[in-house]
Amino acid sequence: MPETVADTHESGVARIFAAIRLPVGDPFALAGLVIYAVFIVTAICAPYIAPYDPSEILYTADYDLASDLPPGAKGHLLGTTSLGRDIFSQIVWGARSALLVGFTAAFMVAFIGSIVGLLAGYFGGWVDAVLMRLADVAFGIPFLPFVIVISAFSEPSIWNTVIAMGLVLWRDTGRVIRSQVLSLRSRGYVEAARVVGSSDLKIILRHITPNILPLSFLYGSIAIGWAILTEASISFLGFGDPDAISWGFMLQDAFASQALARQAYYWFIPPGLAIILVVSAGFFISRGYENLLFPKLGR
């Protein structure tokens, strides 16, 4: 276990980083982190980066609709849509909704899954039975149709995806963390804590949780990609929020406007690329975690 204690002396931020063990040593994971960093900065600074309002219908200097402009024309970096909206601005603002959905969904998946796994694994018995049967039910729910149903019964909003993920996708995280807790629970120092009178809550928070945090983050980083992909699918299928600019919405817009037939690659390739980049970044990072957690898998 020496590898888990190497960084115990630093404090503050360094300790948080040590606790979640960001896999900066792995080149793939590092690439993933860099991609995330770029998109996060883009999302935060969207109002300063985007030259136009993403949903504003633009006109040229001679009062014509600035529609279907190719990249570079009249100051539009990636061109414009059929309704005269700036594609580059949409990509930039799309990063915001993508990351918002991605991170909140990832947080919910990691958080709910960790709690479920901790409770089921630590207490066992009927708590375990109830939670794991719930997980079985969640495993039985087909995810995309479930999101569509939720979207159909509520106001169209990007939060539908987040809620659906929170309701369903905790199952994998919960299961894996439960099994980890099962083995941690019988570790000597956990039993020792019980013998010296530590409460269950204290044992869970202080002795067990620090050891499952890396797993939570692994599943969280996978969930980011899932969430963005799901949100894009939902938007593409037309169940998304028509007021929120997301990459999925852009694809849907392009599809509905037959950009493909008109070979307006500049319209649908950028959002597709953005989705691919962010989703794969999540998987790269999780790959780095896997190497860290299961070093025997090799590289």
Binding site: T4, V5, T8, G188, Y189, A192, R194, V195, V196, H207
Partner: protein, 325 residues
């Protein structure tokens, strides 16, 4: 004689294993880790629990610090049923009954400094924070870690096995318990540091007047530490009596085998082959009657039918139909 601090009556710890399918196939679904054990400990007494792996000696110890709940019989600490303790009674029990674990590398949280490890019991017992430092220093001093200050901010991986086991002992002793279970505390240590840790254990026990259970598979260690020995086999007590008597004149055939198995330093001296062979049987399917009969050199028909009840022979209790002085 004062009231016993520990009193076990027909204590049972049966684990359910397997499932409905294995039950239908006629496989037994219970493992009797501890099966009808009775003994009591007076205050200040130390007893060695002796037996091979899987005989239930560790389960026995875990029951006494309430890491396991018994499934039958009774296990009392100062007259209170251990399994029924709740709330503040349980909290008091936790500070009075402690355990020294077998593997020191596993028994302390690798993320905790030694100070933090030792603060945990103090915080749980709601000891005033101003006294913590002094108590930690005293406890480390007690277990023979010279210059305790230098250990406080160290982490487990920076300590040797012997040092770490002393920390584990310090954690068990810091609340000044009345009763301690030591579960093979030196089996994971280098032979060179065993004697030191054993001596510390003995000294501390005598100085604090501890009641202690020392769990081991090694008769020589038990003899070094305990005046009384209980020999266990497959969840049952085979023989219970003064250690010296058992060492010099074991009455139960299993005790005789254990004594014969102790190696001697005389290499050229031929000694008798062990009176028993094989390994312990599958605990799911122990033999009928006397659990030891399939390895016992003295087994007869009667042993298969009749479970031998412990009989008093001189200073000892022996569970064998044929044992006599």
């Amino acid at each position: 004689m004062s009231d016993p601090i520990i009193e076990l009556k027909d204590t049972k710890l049966h684990y359910k294993i397997g499932n409905a399918v294995s039950a239908m196939m006629g496989l037994s679904t219970t493992v009797k880790a501890v099966d009808g054990v009775s003994f009591s400990l007076r205050k200040g007494e130390s007893v060695g629990l002796l037996g091979e792996s899987g005989c239930g000696k560790t389960s026995m110890g875990r029951i006494l610090v309430r890491l396991e709940e018994i499934t039958g019989g009774s296990a009392r600490f100062e007259g209170d049923e251990i399994g029924d303790l709740k709330g503040s009674d349980l909290q008091r029990f936790r500070s009075r009954s402690q355990m020294i674990f077998q593997n020191p590398f596993d028994a302390v949280n690798p993320r905790y400094s030694i100070r933090k490890t030792l603060e945990e019991p103090l915080a749980n017992a709601k000891i005033s924070r101003s006294t913590w430092h002094q108590r930690i220093i005293d406890a480390l001093d007690l277990v023979g870690l010279g210059d305790p200050e230098q250990f406080l901010e160290r982490y487990p991986h920076q300590l040797s096995g012997g040092q770490l086991q002393r920390v584990v002992m310090a954690r068990a002793l810091i609340l000044e318990p009345d009763f301690v279970v030591a579960d093979e505390p030196v089996s994971m240590l280098d032979v060179s540091v065993r004697a030191g840790v054993l001596n510390v254990f003995r000294d501390v026990r005598d100085r604090l007047g501890l009641t202690a259970i020392y769990i081991s598979h090694d008769l020589a260690l038990v003899r070094y530490v305990c005046e009384r020995t209980i020999v266990m086999y497959l969840g049952k007590i085979m023989e219970d009596g003064p250690t010296e008597d058992i060492v010099h004149d074991p009455l139960h055939p299993y005790s005789q085998a254990l004594v014969a198995a102790v190696p001697t330093p005389h290499v050229d001296q031929s000694h008798d082959p062990l009176p028993i062979g094989g390994g312990a049987p599958d605990p799911r399917n122990p033999p009928s009657g006397c659990v030891f009969r399939d390895r016992c050199p003295r087994a007869q028909l009667r042993c298969a039918d009749e479970v031998p009840q412990p009989r008093r022979i001189g200073t000892r209790l022996v569970a064998c139909h044929f044992a006599s002085v």
